[in-house]
């Protein structure tokens, strides 16, 4: 790997953000006509589509649970999603792990007992990646799930925090992720105030973890607002149309 670049100069990061700033986020719901629910998210340079299908009969049959619905999740990066070489299509080992932890996020908030014997599929397709795709994917998948009308007890979001040198920073981009001293993605159920996903690698002290968590929770308020606005927008457009008639 090339020599480590100076990532924070005079308190500003390479894209001009301060330590606790999110990248710009745009969320749009109902982008895939065929899906039960869907969302498109632009999170910095990340571009991701999430879609939910179901509830539908769980197939093959041995995967069904007679007590509740099962969630199946596929996170996948397009072979053209990164600036480097052409990737391989389909999920690799990293993607399979991300699919698993994403599924577990949604098992906490989707009211699975309402749909025994069925499956709910979450598909996350990363079209363009720039660090933090699992967090952006989960945030989009939550909007997709809610827009499908499948009942949930909370609307989760995810974002990561990490460390560069001695500085704890929020929402690492690809460059920061490559040279960071720690990365810690988290998914949160904001109403229930629960941690649904937590991963970490690198080195963080107890104090640094506390600072990272409080940065994540603060950023989460803004992310939740964007999610809710994206969910409301199609309905607001309909009501505006009716108001005119």
């Amino acid at each position: 790997m090339a020599e480590k670049p100076e990532l924070i100069i005079n308190g500003k990061r390479n894209d001009g953000r301060s330590s606790g700033d999110l990248r710009p986020i745009k969320i749009e719901s109902n982008v895939i006509k065929n899906a039960s629910g869907s969302a498109y998210i632009e999170w910095g340079k990340n571009k991701i589509i999430a879609a939910v299908y179901g509830p539908r009969e769980a197939l093959p049959k041995h995967t069904a649970d007679p007590e509740k619905a099962v969630i199946k999740c596929r996170y996948s990066m397009a072979p053209f999603s990164s600036l480097e070489e052409h990737g391989r299509s389909g999920p690799n080992r990293r993607a399979i792990e991300i699919s698993k932890v994403t599924k577990e996020v949604f098992e906490n908030v989707v009211m699975l007992q309402d749909f025994p014997g069925s499956e709910i599929n979450i598909y996350i397709e990363v079209l363009q990646s720039d660090g933090g795709t699992r967090a952006a994917g989960i945030t989009a998948a939550a909007v997709a799930m809610a827009s499908s009308g499948i009942p949930m007890t909370d609307l989760p979001y995810a974002v990561s925090a990490g460390k560069v040198g001695t500085e704890v920073i929020l929402d690492l981009d690809k460059l920061e992720d490559n040279y960071s001293d720690a990365d810690m993605p988290m998914a949160i159920a904001p109403i229930q105030n629960k941690i649904l996903l937590l991963q970490m690698d690198g080195t963080l002290s107890r104090e640094e973890i506390k600072r990272a968590v409080s940065m994540i929770l603060k950023a989460g308020e803004a992310i939740s607002k964007l999610q809710i606005a994206a969910l409301k927008k199609p309905y607001e457009e309909i009501s505006e149309r009716y108001a005119k008639e």
Partner: protein, 261 residues
């Protein structure tokens, strides 16, 4: 009576009356819109809508070795993914025969029309550029063949060729355009209730007995592919070829407008 057969009766009846469910004539495309270069990490990209069918093409170019039988030509590798987000009919997993056929038909049109001059991808002995064309079906409502060809062709027009500086592949900054020397499009027809229809929707494709894709440029047919179990007569073939030149021209004009050619 099964749901499927109720839908089949409805579709067939409508077509027998000379109509289509969405009000189109048999020879009309749905609205086609093209968003050029939506992705910045690719060498070229395009997002194409034909009605509700949405197909994304992403182009990546990589340093590679030439094929042993063509030592002075670059490579073109086309793949297609029928993503599970696109339809409840598509499942995750390795490419299905349908996805492989789709990729190969799109590839054949682009290759046969010499859209990419593979000689221009030669760098030096043993080193060439490989052009990876990935077709991503995001929402399926029929006619992935034309949507895929339009997406691939549009993406190639926005494609920039990386530079080689020593051993490093430079993908950003001031780069040369790929400059395709030709523009190929395809027109896909189906046969339902003995009528020939252009640009089938998903329900129409469900009950279509035969399918024909014709890829052409201004002057000549470059590739064809018949699909499904049914058959066409030679006069039907003539009719479709004539129409493919007329309709292909319309589509090429839409591509030219969207890519600024």
């Amino acid at each position: 009576m099964q749901m499927g057969s109720i839908l089949e009766e409805y579709i067939l009846d409508t077509i027998r009356k000379g109509q289509r469910d969405d009000g189109r004539s048999f020879n009309a495309y749905r609205d086609i819109s093209i968003k050029s270069s939506p992705l910045q990490n690719t060498e070229g990209s395009a997002d194409v809508l034909i009605g509700n069918t949405r197909v994304l093409a992403g182009i990546k170019i990589a340093l590679d070795e030439p094929m042993s039988d063509k030592p002075e030509d670059g490579n073109i590798i086309t793949s297609a993914e029928l993503l599970p987000i696109a339809s409840e009919k598509f499942e995750p997993g390795p490419p299905t025969p349908e996805a492989i056929e789709l990729a190969r038909v799109i590839d054949r049109g682009i290759r046969a029309a010499n859209m990419i001059d593979t000689k221009s991808l030669f760098i030096e002995k043993g080193k060439v550029w490989s052009v990876f064309i990935d077709i991503y079906v995001l929402n399926y409502d029929g006619n992935m063949f034309d949507a895929g060809t339009i997406a691939a062709a549009s993406a190639l027009f926005s494609t920039r060729l990386p530079k080689l500086e020593g051993e490093d592949v430079i993908r950003e900054g001031n780069l040369e355009r790929l400059k395709p020397s030709n523009l190929v499009t395809s027109c896909t027809f189906g046969k339902i209730a003995d009528k020939i229809l252009l640009d089938m929707t998903a329900p129409e494709e469900m009950f279509s007995k035969a399918r024909l894709t014709i890829a052409n440029d201004e002057n000549v047919v470059r590739a064809m592919q018949k699909g499904l179990g049914g058959s066409f007569s030679t006069s039907e073939l003539d009719q479709m070829i004539d129409l493919s030149f007329e309709k292909g021209k319309e589509v090429r004009n839409i591509i030219k407008k969207a890519t600024g050619e």
